[in-house]
Symmetry: C2
Subunit: 205 residues, 2 copies
DNA sequence: AGAAAAATCCTGTTTTTAGGGGATAGAGGC
DNA sequence: GCCTCTATCCCCTAAAAACAGGATTTTTCT
């Protein structure tokens, strides 16, 4: 019985590319595609594929959130993350939210098929390049920051000083300073420059 | 006579997608593809296409640099930038370096064909979404920074203080401070946070 | 060669951040 | 009820960055 595949990606060329790659495979049944999270969820109400290839960057919500939602509603569907970047932070988040694997957009046809087969068997799969990076860099911790810290971080990134932020949030400057200190600690940054660079890297801003 | 097309992109799925999209077009002749800048330049020594579809992010050099190089050697070739992002800064740079147009990777088959036809006529072409952004935001100035400023910026981003940077570059702290002031002025940033955010946005770091 | 741009250095002052300590009230989980 | 986490607030000091307004020498380009 053929493996039913669905793809959620807003890049038409990628969708077309994957369709073209999988077309000749008789073991794979192409169920169609969605260009955003909403229509992906809509499709799943009607029918369920075995594997979803899911882009990380979708117009209406992040692939990471969609991943969690889909896994919550349909635990049997295997999700393969799909992205151009070999970015540790995204990959890690995606896997934490229920993805079974991760394939880079420069993967070959063989790699893609291998990934699909692996996740169908319940195994994890990472593109060779990704696993290489994984092994090399041990692990990159992505800070968990609170709601308030996020707000403060955003305002710091906008160029506001502690006193300006304090005024905007109706709190004292010492409070803002406390949040700032927590942020520095959590991002393991010793100053604002590193903080903002890290925050940008992990897509907090 | 069919338009000869070549593509330079390291994402196999995109290459496959575009090939699949253009296959059925009899007015278009597919000449092949390169996965990096070096093999693109190698191919061009043998034969020249009419249009190159070129990704911005290549493994060996930026599409922006490759664009300039190709245009320098083969001024008759039309280059169409190709990227997932509707990012003003990249698009602007690409056009400044000789690209005739810019197509997003979520473009439809029709859009792609339209773009190819437009640049063949010597016209400029921007994906509808891109031109919308272009019109809306007037223009976003991308600072032109000097070699030394770039060095200083990189070290600031790494979290070094002025005196640490001074030590590293064998200059006085006041010199570093001067460069820092120029950077703030050029990026229209009033502090380090904004500077780093802007630098990250424009891919300087 | 001459102009323009870049890189280097200087003296100040004021504002902002970083680092070191805390403390307290409230929410939520166990 | 107890504990942890969050958000709030306070003190103090030192370091760093921002602001102002220069000057000189080297490079680079025309």
């Amino acid at each position: 019985m053929a493996i039913k595949i669905f793809i959620t990606d807003d890049h038409y060329m990628i969708v077309e590319g994957i369709r073209s790659l999988l077309q000749q495979e008789k073991d794979v049944e192409w169920m169609g595609h969605a260009m955003n999270a909403a229509s992906c969820l809509g499709f799943l109400q009607q029918q369920q594929p075995d594997v979803i290839l899911m882009d990380i960057n979708l117009p209406d919500k992040s692939g990471i959130d969609l991943c969690q939602e889909v896994k919550g509603k349909y635990p049997d569907i295997h999700i393969l993350g799909l992205s151009s970047f070999n970015q540790q932070s995204f990959i890690q988040k995606m896997m934490e939210h229920g993805a079974s694997g991760y394939v880079l957009k420069n993967a070959t046809r063989e790699e893609l098929l291998e990934a699909i087969e692996a996740v169908m068997k319940g195994q994890k799969f990472l593109s060779p390049e990704v696993s290489a990076t994984n092994g090399r860099n041990e692990e990159i911790r992505i800070p968990v920051i609170t709601r308030r810290e996020k707000e403060v971080l955003a305002l710091i990134a906008e160029g506001l000083t502690n006193s300006e932020i304090a005024e905007k949030l109706f709190v004292s400057t010492t409070t803002v300073d406390s949040h700032r200190k927590s942020l520095l600690a959590k991002f393991e940054a010793k100053n604002t420059a590193t903080l903002i660079r890290m925050a940008a890297k992990f897509s907090f801003i």
